[in-house]
């Protein structure tokens, strides 16, 4: 069964500094997704990564994928308060139809 591990689970960020969230998965994957979730809300899609070496950027967030290492990273540049949320990675296995999610990384940005 596909396992997805995120770390850290909690991240306290200082405004203006850079941070990285890691997502490891256990088997071959077709696609990797990053989502943002605000408290009590649904999942907001951030990135879809399809191939080895894929890099996508939106504002202060940049996601990359290394399929050989089975690792994706979400890099946050110059953190701002608006980025406080829980971030999930999810992996799509070629062997089934479901998304397997990590446990999430809860980010708090402090002044």
């Amino acid at each position: 069964e596909l396992k997805v591990e995120q770390n850290p689970l909690f991240l306290s960020m200082q405004e203006g500094k850079n941070y990285t969230i890691y997502c490891n998965y256990s088997t071959t994957s077709d696609r990797l997704y990053w989502y943002r979730q605000d408290p009590g809300k649904s999942l907001e899609s951030l990135f879809v990564l399809l191939s080895n070496g894929a890099v996508k950027q939106e504002g202060r967030l940049m996601a990359s994928l290394d399929t050989k290492a089975r690792l994706s990273t979400l890099h946050i540049t110059a953190a701002v308060h608006d980025l406080s949320a829980t971030y999930f990675c999810a992996v799509d296995s070629p062997d089934d139809y479901k998304l397997s999610f990590g446990a999430g990384t809860t980010v708090t940005v402090r002044a």
Partner: protein, 111 residues
């Protein structure tokens, strides 16, 4: 173009009762998946419907059942509710195996 819609938004039930949650997929989508997200956890796959059939099921008891209608909308039914069924229930729709889009969720509280 309406995205994925879910109803109701919130629901309060008591133990032993039954509940039905509803999902209308994004226009043009034919596949609906349901996820359960307990507080502080990542979403867990319940099942997926395609062509009005349950195509894949996650590790959930038979108390959880579903249905997909000819217009691709779907229902999730949970019988004999337990306190542990309290969660955010997310519906995701897709066109076949393409990228899923998540709805706003239904918050179920079991007292």
């Amino acid at each position: 173009d309406a995205g994925v819609t879910q109803s109701p938004t919130h629901l309060i039930k008591t133990r032993g009762q039954q509940v039905t949650l509803r999902c209308s997929p994004k226009s043009g989508h034919d596949t609906v998946s349901w996820y359960q997200q307990a507080l502080g956890q990542g979403p867990q796959f319940i099942f997926q419907y395609y062509e009005e059939e349950e195509r894949q099921r996650g590790n959930f008891p038979d108390r959880f059942s579903g249905h997909q209608f000819p217009n691709y909308s779907s229902e999730l039914n949970v019988n004999a509710l337990l306190l542990g069924d309290s969660a955010l229930y997310l519906c995701a729709s897709s066109l076949g195996d393409a990228r899923p889009f998540f709805g706003p969720g239904t918050r179920l509280t079991v007292l």
